[in-house]
Symmetry: D2
Subunit: 138 residues, 4 copies
């Protein structure tokens, strides 16, 4: 999708559906996360590298807009990009599409924290550099 340097492929599982016959809305946060993990692997050596340094990334805020439902066995693309990095905080944006149709979009804000204390700590330089660079990728 234009403006997104990365997309993760997601297939809607039967367990993701609910009694409305569509994917339950809480799954989108899980899919955003799955896309973020693949994004970080692609651009920044993986989320595990953060964890190996004793750092975790906490979700601080999230917004989601649901435009059209996803259904069982749908093949989705979860487009992702990092759009801002400031201090210990960064933001990802997402657009979920099926065959070019936008189903949902949203963003998540993250803060890096010490894995033991869960207190805020500065985002490591290598991650800042990688996220900044991802913004200019095609």
């Amino acid at each position: 999708m234009d403006g997104f340097p990365f997309a993760a492929a997601i297939r809607v599982r039967f367990a993701d559906t609910d009694a409305q016959g569509i994917a339950h809305h809480s799954n989108y946060l899980v899919w955003f996360e799955a896309a973020r993990v693949e994004f970080l692997e692609h651009f920044a050596g993986g989320y595990q590298r953060l964890r190996d340094e004793g750092i975790e990334s906490l979700v601080l805020e999230a917004q989601l807009r649901f435009r059209a439902p996803a259904r069982f066995d749908d093949r989705l693309l979860v487009n992702a990009r990092c759009i801002a990095i400031r201090g210990a905080r960064f933001r990802f944006e997402y657009a979920v599409e099926r065959d070019g149709l936008l189903l949902a979009d949203g963003w998540t804000d993250h803060g890096t924290v010490n894995a033991t204390t869960l207190r805020a700590c500065r985002t490591p330089e290598w991650l800042r550099a990688a996220l900044t660079e991802s913004a200019t990728a095609e």
Copy 2:
């Protein structure tokens, strides 16, 4: 909590936790929904009444702010209130607390749809009346 006419009790399950040792952020949408279902039971005869009329409520938009993590076996209160009803759309606000400490807040926007076609339909009058009345409850 002041300003909220209703609260649902939630206990954090072990399955809700993640490898950061805290409740995974996607659970808050599930807890918001559980509170909403209890809210509708308390004020409006239950969500099943909607379904019995061939109507579903779809989540159209959601926002969440995470202020402090919840942990395994925490007893939470998910305060809920309906703050706006317009046409086929209404908004719920939530505040999740543990022992008086605010852990997270957020809102969800909903639209009523025909259960078969998932197309927007006017919110039934009895639900509008009940939601409006809930706003003045203590």
Copy 3:
């Protein structure tokens, strides 16, 4: 239920349902766990006491039989009992009922492990005593 010293109350959430209109079968393992946690709180000072000693309990094996579906908003009782303790291993049995109708039953086998290494360690004496005693409770 006869033969079970304990039951946990579970309410089926909308997020628990799937596109078949029933509770997804994977939820029963989550409900078994929720019942087990409440059971341990009731009889043995809580699962957290184990964790405080640097011990975790791993699920080693599980069996489930589904006899009748649970649906959205159903109020269930998850009856639980500990039926065997040997060395580092113990077994829980469950029966899930709605209004006296048996919906599902099953069991889970558990082993106590060191929380850091995840290697098997002997079940603490206080837990063995508590589990043994629970078997004679009514």
Copy 4:
């Protein structure tokens, strides 16, 4: 894996982990299902074909053995095979491996039911034929 005609690739998501730092055991039922859906797509035209005929497959029974934990971001293979078909019932077996190491195995029993009434109905001939044939595939 020897003896299995099919394997589905699963990547452990962060949301799948729990506070023990491993994948929560309930996920294996979800992964079994994901493998089954891919299996049916590969050998039998897909689960949706069943649903299009007004038939659902219910899980009747399940057994799981956990031998070694899976962790965040692990790449797993969920091997699957259909080992028995009798009347309205069939059984799948699974073996979950990571880099050749067996992490878990189990089986699930299924019955075909009318999607509206959820009453047992004979497994369609095309599905019986496809499942039987899969057993001889390499």
